[in-house]
Amino acid sequence: MEDDGILKEFLVESYEGLGRLDQEFVLLEKETGNRALIASIFRTIHTIKGTCGFLGLPKLESVAHGGEDVLSMMRDGKMPVTPEGVTILLEAVDTIKEILSHIESKGSEPAQDYNSILQKLKTLISNESGSQETSASSVEPSGVRRKEKGILDAESSKQRADASVEGKAPKALPLEGATQAPANESGSQETSASSVEPSGVRSQEESKAVMSQNRGLVSAESSIRVDVGLLDKLMNLVGELVLARNQLLQRVREEDNAVYAGTAQRMNLITTELQDAVMKTRMQPILNVWEKFPRLVRDLAKTNGKEVELVMDGAETELDKTLLEAIKDPLTHIVRNSVDHGIETPDMRRARGKGPKGMLNLKAYHEGGQINIEIGDDGNGIDIEKVKRKAIEKGLVSAEAVSRMSEREALNLIFLPGLSTAEKVTNVSGRGVGMDVVRTNIEKIGGTVEMTSRLGQGTSLRIKIPLTLAIIPALMVAAGKELFAIPQASLLELVRVDPESGGRIEVIHDASFYRLRGTLLPILYLNRLLCLEEGRGTLQCAPTETSNTSIVVLKAGERPFGLVVDAVNNSEEIVVKPLSRQLKGLSVFAGATIMGDGRVALILDVQGVAKEGGFLQSKAGETKLTLEDSTEDGSGIEHHTLILFSASGNDRFAVPLALVDRLEEFYLNRVEQAAGRDIIQYRGGLLPLIRLDRILGIDSPDQNREMLPTIVFSGKKKNVGLVVDRILDIVEAESVLHPPPPGKTGVAGSLVIEGMTTDLLNIDQVIEGVEPGWMEEARV
C-alpha cells in the first residue's frame, strides 16, 4: 500500500519533469551552448534514474542512465550538442514516457526490452569518445547499421516486433533474429503482436485488480486532474447554492434580525466568491494545447528536411476547458499541414528569395468578445487554381459554379470533404480528410474558420470561437430597471456629461450628438433603443438633462458611437451563455450571463446595437448627415477613417471607409458588357462597375493593366463597384473640409491629408449618376 503511494508520487513527479523536457530539448537545439539548460535536463533525468533504482524499476533505470551518460558528456563539454544527439535523447524521453505509462496502467514495467535505444545512446557516446571498435558495436551491430540508414520507422517497428517476440517467448534471446528480419517480415510480426501483446502474463482478474487500484494514479502536468464532469456538477451545485442564498437573503431582510443578517451577509460573499472560483476552474491557458507544438514542429521539420521557427503569441489566453479540448485536434492538424505542405524546404525557399527558415506563427487573443486564434506560415500558399481544378476533378462542384466564385469562395473549397491538394500523400496529411474535419470541429463549438492565402507567400488561418462558455470582462450598465453587460473589448471610454461645465448632448433633426474632444459622436439611448421607456409618453427629442448623463463610448466597426445609459455599475468577469434558439434573431444581444446575485443579465452585442440604432445599416445616409452637420456647425471639422485612392496618375481621392463594403481586384478580362455598362460576375450576382476616370472626365489610367482595383459599395439590394487606378492607403483623418468649386459634381469637398490635397468623393452622387435610384435605396 505504502509502495503505491511512493509510486504515485514518483509518476506525478516524473511526468511533470518530462513535460518540461520536450520544450527544453527543442530550445537546446537552438541554444546548443546553454549549459544551464543541459544541467536542468540532466537533473530531471537524473532524478528519474535515482528513484528508479530505489523503486526497483531496472528497465526504466537503464534507459534513464543511458540518457544521463550522454547528457553528462554534453554538460561537461565533451560532446557537442547535435541535432542527431537531441533526436536520440528525445527518443529516450519517449521511451521513458512509454514505460511510465505502462507502469501507471499496469503497475509494473513492460515486458519488452529497450536495447535498441540503449544501443543508440551508447553508440553516441562511443562515437564521441573516438573508440568506435570497443564494446557495444560488437554486441549489436544491427543497431549501428540502422542508425546509419536513418530509417526511423524501421526503428519503431522493430521495437514493436521485439514486443511481439517477447510476448510469445518470455526470453529475450530471439531478439537478434527479429532485428535482422527484413522490414516486411517484421511488419507481419507486428500484426500478430497486436493479438498477443496485451497482458499475456497476468491473469485477467489480476490485471483488472491492478487497474482499479491504479486508477488514482493518473498524474498531471502541473497540479491535479479533475474530471470535467465533476466541475460541471460543481458549477450546477454552486448555481443551486446561489438560488438558496437569494431566498435566504430575502427571508433575512423580512425578519430584520441582526444576527442572522450578519451570517447571511457572510454567506452571501462566500457564495459569490465560490461561484467565481468554480467558474474559473474551467479556464485553462491555450498553452496547454500549444505546448505540444514545439516538439511536433521540430520532429516534422526534421523528417521533412525543413527548417521551421515556431513563434507563439498570447499563450496565456484563457479558454474554457471544453473549448480547449475541442480545438486541440483541429489546431494540431493545421500546424501539421503548415509544416508538411506550407513551408518549403530551405533550398526552395532560398530560390524564392526567402530566408531558409520558415516561420510559423501562432497567435491567440480576445477580440470583440470572441477568442481569435491565428495560425500563419510564410510558406507555399495555396494555389487557388489547383484547388479549383481538384474540386472539379473530384466532382465536388461544377466547373460552372467554380467560374463564378470569388477568390475567397474558391479558397473555401479547401474545406470540402475529400479535397486535398497535396501532390503526394504523406503520413501526416494529404489524405483529403483534413480541412473539412477541422471546420466541422470548429463549427461544432460555434466557431468559424477563415483562410487567406497568397501563392508563394504563405497561408494564414483565423479561427474565431464565440465567447460562449468563456469568461470575459464586462461593464454592467443599467437602462430602466434592467441590467446589461457590455463586453470590455468593445468599450473605448466612459464619458460623464456634466451640464454645469457646459457639456450637453446636441440634437440635429432626430439624431443626437455629443462633442467629444471636438468631434461629433453619434449618440444612442439604450432605453429608447430597447423600448424600455414605458409610460414616459412620447419620445423627447431633447433629453432632459437634469442630472449627469453617462455615455459609454463604444467601437462598432470603424467608428465609435456613444450609448447613453441610465447608470454605469461595476465591471465584472462574466461567463457568457448563449441565448436559446428562440432569441437568436435578436442581434442586439450576444448572449446572457448570470450575475453574482443569481439574476440573469443580457449581454449587448455592440455591433448589433449599432445596427439597431441605424449606424451600420444606412451608412450612406448617415455620413451625408454628418457632412451637412459639420458645415452647419461652422466648425467644419471632419474626423473619419478614409480610404485613399487615385483615379488616374497623381490625383488623390478619399471615401469614408465606413461606406465601403469590400476592396476587390478584378481581372480585366472578366469584365463584360451589358446594356452598355461594364459588369462583372461577383459573388453569385452581377456587379455594375463605375469607371471613376470616365465619370470625372479625367485621363484614363493605363489601359493595359490586367487587374482592376475596385471598391465595392453595397446598397440595400445591389452592389456597385468603383474602379479606381490605385488604392493608396487607409488613414485616420481629421481636417477641415473645403467646399468644392461650383460645377464640380461628385466631389463633396477637398481635404488636406498628410499635407496633400485630397478630394472627398460624394459617392452617393457619383453612383446616382450611373445607377439612378441608388440614393433612395441607400437611404431606406
Binding site: 450546477n236 448555481g239 428562440q582 434573431g585 439597431e612
Partner: protein
C-alpha cells in the same frame, strides 16, 4: 451549440418515429389494432398535464424536466411577446415562453400565473409558463385522435392531437413545435 447536441437529435428523431407509429394505430384498420392489442399496455403514454385558460393540456412526461414556481425573470427587450423572459435554472439560462400568448389565448389576468414546466427540447430546456399544474396521467393510444382540421392554424400546428378522455379532452402538445418561435 454543444458537442452533445447531435446525439440528442438522434435520440429525438427516433422518438419522433415512435410517435408516428403509434399515431398510425387508431387510423389503421381493425386487424392491425388487434395485432397490437397485447402490446397496448406498453404503448400507453404518460402525460404531465396542466391547465391553461380552461383548457386541459399535456406534455409527454419524459420530456418534462421539472416543475417550477414562477420566479424572477429577466425581460428580453425587442423579443417577440411570446418570450416571457430568461430564468436562472441552477446556473443554466433558460428561456421562458408564455404559453398563453404562444397558443393565442387571452393574456393572463394579473396574479394568476403560478407555475412553469421545464421541458426538454432538441435545443435544451425551455420553460413554459402555465396557469396550474395537473396530475401525471396515463392515456390509452385508442383514445387518440389527430388534431381536428377545424382547429385554428396557430393552435393546430402545435398539438399532436387530442386524447378523448372521459371527463374532458386532453390536448397533447408537441413540444418541438411549441418552441419554434422566431426570434
Amino acid at each position: 451549440m454543444s458537442l452533445q447536441s447531435s446525439d440528442k437529435q438522434i435520440k429525438h428523431i427516433s422518438r419522433g418515429e415512435d410517435r408516428r407509429q403509434s399515431d398510425l394505430g387508431p387510423i389503421g384498420g381493425f386487424e392491425k389494432r388487434s395485432a397490437t392489442a397485447d402490446r397496448r399496455h406498453e404503448n400507453n403514454r404518460q402525460y404531465a398535464t396542466f391547465f391553461l385558460d380552461d383548457h386541459f393540456l399535456g406534455v409527454e412526461v419524459e420530456k418534462v424536466q421539472e416543475i417550477l414556481n414562477v420566479q424572477d425573470m429577466t425581460r428580453v427587450p425587442l423579443a417577440p411577446p411570446v418570450i416571457a423572459g430568461l430564468i436562472n435554472l441552477r446556473g443554466h439560462i433558460v428561456t421562458a415562453i408564455d404559453l398563453r400568448t404562444r397558443l393565442g389565448f387571452p393574456s393572463r389576468p394579473p396574479g394568476l400565473w403560478t407555475k412553469s414546466l421545464v421541458v426538454l427540447t432538441m435545443d435544451g430546456p425551455v420553460d413554459l409558463l402555465v396557469d396550474q399544474i395537473g396530475d401525471v396521467i396515463e392515456v390509452l393510444p385508442d383514445l387518440f385522435e389527430s388534431a381536428p382540421e377545424t382547429l385554428d392554424e396557430q393552435f393546430g400546428s402545435v398539438i399532436d392531437g387530442v386524447y378523448k378522455l372521459k371527463e374532458r379532452l386532453l390536448l397533447a402538445l408537441n413540444i418541438d413545435s411549441i418552441v419554434q418561435v422566431a426570434g
